[in-house]
Symmetry: C2
Subunit: 374 residues, 2 copies
């Protein structure tokens, strides 16, 4: 159980930099949250971590951790940190961190409001995203897919926006399934305001998540950053409808960067809101998905299981490279990627890809910065 | 110029076996049409060609060549043989022959009715095929695509059936472009009967083609065999709309067998008539094509040219007639059509057609009322 001091330290750290902040994540991983918070507050950090000073200087002197935790408590929210059981793995974000720079990376912490567990949902959910200006076709299909996926035991992740996002959440709730809204503002804010009732229902029966502290306002750069969490907190991303410049295309780009399976729903070629979907398919970035069954296959490419059929986890279906990476994991304990590279004799890029895919299949698990058998 | 004897021999051979007939094609290639016809009629063939006897035994004794040519003449049709200039290459069919067996292979001959040249059309056309029970969406998109492709200089090939096929032909005609209907019955028959007026218009301004002799009735196996000619006589096959078991899927399968570029138009996932298209895309057999531009890229994957914007390409792909017309143009300056007719020794109608197509390909240019090299 986390002490109050630890929780305060995390709340301070979650606000002291604009998340994600790779340098701050690295500092915390090395010296722990309490010492990291103290070091940042003093603006004196261990050698090698100097870059974190610039990222935290503007907010270091102001400690709002008590009031943030109080606001969260009042609206029924909690702070989830990498030290909590509920923390989702974020392994793909961690793996991609080197390539995605400061805009990518693992969140510092998550604020969450609602009864659904974030780790459980992230382990068995589909992100349905799309145009705010959805057509009636897009709305209809979103509703159908969300309902059918929920019927098969999947949760629905989206961004609570107008159009496809909103319908995805609503349809999941209407089908009695869990849904997660990832916000680009604080979990105490209703954005968009017209969705306040929907957000209240999600907070009541699903979960609202944000890496931003309470009171944070939605801003353009935060939507783009938020989109990576939609991809990170689901097993597959599906763009139901998107114009050529839809924000959903940004979420799709994150899915590609993270190696998250990406699907796109086709539509009439005469519809402007399907142009983005068709481009994703044509470019080979997204698989064409025409029904819930195709989406489930996308999310579990080994065909082993949807979340409703229980995790059968044989290694029979592994590729030779995956098998070598799998064999490089010890019977107990975790090893680093570098150790796997050495003992498997497989290139680091291939090791990363193999681990990511096997993690989806539940055949390996991340522990700290290392990997172990589940 | 072919003699009457030769033409009679070809007409006899075009009926004596159910086409395509690889063994008969091989015999004709070895000993010529006149000797092949005589040998078949006697049922005595050179050693090594015995298999052709079984394929021709049922019809060998009956020579209807005179009446077939007479019927063709009366309805304004002609017989095109491999010895004629107008014979299209069929190189993909010939290459695939070993794999496709008796159901595949090059036609024995083609019966053609209408002013458009089969070889020219086959060199610059798109096959638009699809469901007989097209939706209003499918009809709308077929019309749009056919019109736009014609505007860019492409001809439209299809099967004259209800639904997508019919709209494709109609839209091509309405846009003033050439269109070819490939039939599964004799060119003297209207199939389907309700399309008699459409077929008359195609015969008037485009061309109707069949490998079956006059009077042949449409039969199920002939539709499947005909579908390979739709793929063989176009630069790319596009399935606009197709149910899961549509005949268009058979044409698509032929395109794949022949290595012909294949596209499919997506549609609403809620529409039964788009299921076949989505399957073709998902399986990786067809490329998703959402507009005419994507279709043209598919048909000319080297990006060199639609027939309309050629950066002056080589003359390698020209038909013999086009080559003669091309050679009649001087190194500098322009000449009139009449001068080309004289120096090329080609009829004025054919010169016009050749110039029009080569202009689309960027190989000749108009100047005032004359023509020149670009």
């Amino acid at each position: 159980m986390m002490t109050d001091t630890e929780r305060r330290a995390w709340a301070y750290l979650a606000r002291v930099a604009e998340p994600p902040c790779v340098s701050l994540t690295a500092l915390i991983a090395e010296i722990g949250a309490v010492d990291a918070a103290a070091a940042i507050a003093r603006q004196q950090v261990p050698r090698g971590h100097e870059s974190v000073l610039r990222a935290t200087r503007a907010r270091a002197a102001e400690d709002r951790s008590a009031s943030d935790l109080e606001v969260a408590h009042r609206c029924g929210a909690r702070l989830i940190t990498p030290d909590d059981d509920e923390w989702p793995g974020f392994s793909l974000l961690a793996l991609a961190q080197a390539d995605t720079g400061e805009r990518g990376g693992v969140p510092l912490a998550l604020w969450a409001r609602g009864p659904a567990r974030v780790d459980d949902l992230a382990a068995a959910s589909i992100a349905l995203v799309g145009s705010r200006a959805a057509s009636s076709y897009g709305e209809h299909v979103t509703g159908l897919l969300a309902g059918e996926l929920v019927d098969h035991g999947w949760g629905i992740v989206s961004g609570a926006a107008f159009g496809v996002d909103g319908i995805a959440h609503r349809s999941a709730l209407a089908s009695g399934g869990p849904t997660m809204a990832v916000l680009a503002c604080g979990i105490d804010r209703d954005y968009p305001a017209a969705h306040s009732r929907l957000l209240a229902e999600i907070a009541d029966r699903g979960v609202i998540v944000s890496e931003y502290p309470p009171h944070t306002t939605a801003a353009r750069h935060r939507f783009l950053t938020r989109n990576r969490l939609v991809a990170a907190l689901s097993n597959a991303v599906v763009v139901v409808e998107a114009g050529a410049r839809s924000g959903a295309v940004s979420t799709a780009a994150w899915a590609v960067k993270l190696g998250r399976p990406l699907g796109a729903v086709p539509g009439p070629v005469t519809s402007a809101t399907s142009v983005g979907c068709h481009e994703l398919i044509t470019d080979g970035r997204a698989a064409l998905v025409a029904d819930a069954s195709a989406i489930m296959t996308l999310a579990r490419p080994d065909g082993v299981a949807g979340p409703d059929h229980g995790p059968a986890r044989g290694t029979d279906g592994l590729t030779p490279v995956q098998q070598r990476v799998h064999d490089a994991l010890p019977g107990r304990g975790a090893v680093t990627i570098e150790e796997i590279v050495f003992s498997a004799g497989v290139e680091i890029g291939e090791v990363r890809a193999a681990l990511a895919l096997m993690e989806l299949g539940g055949m390996v698990a991340m522990e700290g910065s290392g990997w172990r058998l589940p």
